[in-house]
């Protein structure tokens, strides 16, 4: 698609303000910060501008590799669960009569109107020893002793899932909604059972949107440090906590930047993968 110089100029004019903002306020500061990973930390914080690769070798210590691996696992589990729960939910909402559709969508978005932190603290109250969940379970006689529901990896998964599930539901919902119902009818007409129709027509055509949802859930889950802190009680720390601690507690900017690079790389790889897959399914 060559459209001549005029249209390139026009595009630059439209993109200009956004690009300048992004460059000045996000890209430049981030590059400055990332550049510190080639240098040493000062004794009392700060950066000593002497070249070193020590930060990278430190990254490969089992301690840090484990945290990175745990974070990948937690974010992966959250994403898979979100997909398994979100897809049927989105599908069902898209097929509701329009009045109920609005109500259901509102219910999906409602949590967004409350601060993320408050919602996570609400979970600690629900899941605590004398909390609602334990009270109910002992009340109906299912358990004698309150369960240890808080401060483990499972709690972190639940919190992240709760926090980001709607980011999975919304893109899938809009894809199912946009899907021409005639395609499903055509499939049935050609002899496909409803299950076959789902796997041969509906799923492939909504997969690109499900992948967008997966990236939207995975990325903030992977880098999250609030949920592991509040619901994991600092026992199930993730890469986000590590970065935060390096910058704010250990005052080791160079190493913090090195770990941050890992996070950015993971995100970029995911975005690329998503782009490739949806390009392949969507067009020629």
């Amino acid at each position: 698609m060559s459209r001549g110089r005029g249209s390139i100029l026009a595009r630059l004019i439209f993109l200009g303000p956004g690009l300048i903002m992004l460059t000045l306020l996000a890209v430049v500061p981030m590059l400055l910060m990332l550049s510190t990973m080639f240098f040493q930390r000062g004794r009392f914080g700060g950066v000593i501008y002497e070249f070193t690769t020590a930060n990278f070798s430190r990254l490969f210590q089992p301690l840090y590799l484990n945290v990175i691996q745990d974070s990948l696992v937690v974010a992966g589990v959250v994403t898979v669960l979100a997909l398994l729960i979100g897809y049927p939910t989105a599908y069902a909402i898209a097929l509701l009569p329009s009045k109920w559709k609005t109500i259901a969508l509102l219910a999906v978005m409602l949590p967004f109107w409350t601060n993320f932190l408050i919602r996570m603290y609400a979970w600690t109250i629900l899941l605590s020893g004398p909390g609602l969940v334990n009270e109910t379970l002992t009340g109906i006689g299912l358990i004698d002793q309150p369960l240890e529901l808080l401060y483990n990896r499972g709690t972190v998964v639940v919190g992240l899932l709760y926090g980001y599930l709607s980011l999975m539901i919304l893109p899938i919902y809009s894809a199912v909604e946009r899907l021409d119902p005639r395609l499903r009818e055509a499939s049935a007409n050609l002899g496909a059972s409803p299950v076959r129709t789902f796997f041969s027509v509906t799923l492939p055509l909504t997969l690109p949107s499900a992948l967008i949802g997966a990236v939207l859930v995975f990325v903030p889950s992977f880098g999250n440090f609030v949920v592991p802190e509040i619901l994991g009680g600092g026992k199930a720390i993730m890469i986000g906590n590590l970065i935060r601690d390096q910058f704010l507690k250990a005052r080791d900017w160079p190493f913090g930047a090195t770990i941050a690079l890992v996070m950015i790389l993971v995100t970029v790889v995911l975005l690329l993968a998503q782009a490739v897959v949806s390009r392949r399914t969507r067009s020629a």
Binding site: A188, G191, S200
Partner: protein
């Protein structure tokens, strides 16, 4: 032999009556058309047959089997959608193979049949393209190929040619007819284009507002319309409302008109085709009018005559160029046996 019988099907959407007591029998091997203005319920009827819609009342039998009891994917009927509904993520060949794969046929057979049908619709070169890379006419052929490759007992086509431009359309009409002859499948084509229906179909059901007005061969529909709607809808016609009294048809405000009334006294309408109308020297007792417009095209002249007491102009058509000029006072007449009387 009757292949499909539709028995008293009715369907309402809220207070819109889409179908009202529709009964049609369709013969094995027939090319059948459902003809009617937009919104008269044609698509709804096809959707009921395909199983995407259920009737409020009535039934449908295919080879004596109750269709309504079968799930959509178990019906030996294929539907070619008005919008084609091709799968955008599959190639042309995959789209066509889809229905055969559902029958769990051996791979070699699927491949052979897909190749055969692609050749039949002239798309062998496009097998590996996606629908988005095809023109409208090509997509339409894929949709047709996808439907006929299953060799269904009955093929339903919902306005199959309406998205095509005039020239391609005429070509595709011929092709449809040829295909139907070749594959021997019973076709039911929905259309709002009477020329299309007339040129394609063995028999036509004319529908209006959810009701079947008349089911007949094209020539019969043209020559012997049984309802006012059919007389008005099929081809150009001059229509007079009035009544039969004592074996004579009298038009409201005009008096007796030439006809061969045989029925008992009753309100009725008289239809006379423009090409049957004769314009003569006015004589007493004859309907008289003034020529208001003469136009000549395609070897035929159309003459519009304004008749006092009649809301619409009487149209006459003659071969060659007319020697008559606007302003002439003429007598309007026809042979009694050319007039068609329609009971109200």
């Amino acid at each position: 032999m009757t292949l499909l019988s539709i028995e008293g099907v009715s369907r309402k959407f809220g207070n819109v009556t889409a179908l009202s007591d529709v009964s049609i029998d369709i013969q094995q091997g027939e090319f059948f058309a459902l003809l009617g203005p937009s919104g008269c319920g044609k698509t709804t009827l096809l959707r009921i047959l395909a199983g995407f819609e259920t009737p409020d009342q009535g039934g449908a039998r295919l080879d004596g089997v109750d269709l309504l009891k079968l799930a959509p994917h178990k019906r030996p009927i294929n539907l070619m959608f008005q919008s084609y509904a091709l799968f955008p993520h599959m190639t042309v060949a995959k789209n066509i193979a889809y229905g055969l794969e559902r029958e769990n046929l051996p791979r070699a057979e699927i491949k052979a049949r897909v190749g055969e049908v692609l050749e039949k619709v002239g798309l062998d070169a496009m097998a590996n393209r996606r629908p988005a890379q095809l023109s409208g006419g090509q997509q339409q052929r894929v949709a047709l190929a996808r439907a006929i490759v299953k060799r269904p007992r009955l093929l339903l086509l919902d306005e199959p040619l309406s998205a095509l431009d005039k020239k391609v359309r005429a070509e595709m009409q011929l092709e449809l007819k040829r295909l139907q002859n070749e594959v021997g499948i019973t076709f039911v084509v929905v259309t709002h284009d009477q020329e299309e229906a007339m040129s394609l179909a063995d028999r036509i059901a004319v529908m209006d507002q959810g009701k079947v007005e008349q089911v007949d061969a094209p020539v019969t529909l043209y020559e012997r319309p049984r309802t006012y709607f059919v007389a008005d809808f099929i081809g150009a016609n001059n229509l007079f409302t009035g009544a039969i009294r004592g074996g004579v048809f009298s038009a409201d405000g005009l008096g007796p008109l030439p006809s061969k009334a045989t029925t008992a006294d009753a309100p009725a309408a008289l239809a006379i085709r423009p090409e049957r109308v004769r314009l003569t020297e006015p004589t007493p007792g004859m309907v008289q009018g003034v020529v208001v417009d003469v136009s000549f095209y395609g070897g035929v002249s159309h003459i519009a005559v304004e008749v006092r007491g009649l809301g619409r102009k009487v149209l006459a058509a003659t071969q060659g160029s007319a020697r008559i000029t606007p302003g002439t006072v003429v007598g309007v007449t026809w042979r009694p046996e050319d007039a068609v009387l329609i009971a109200n």
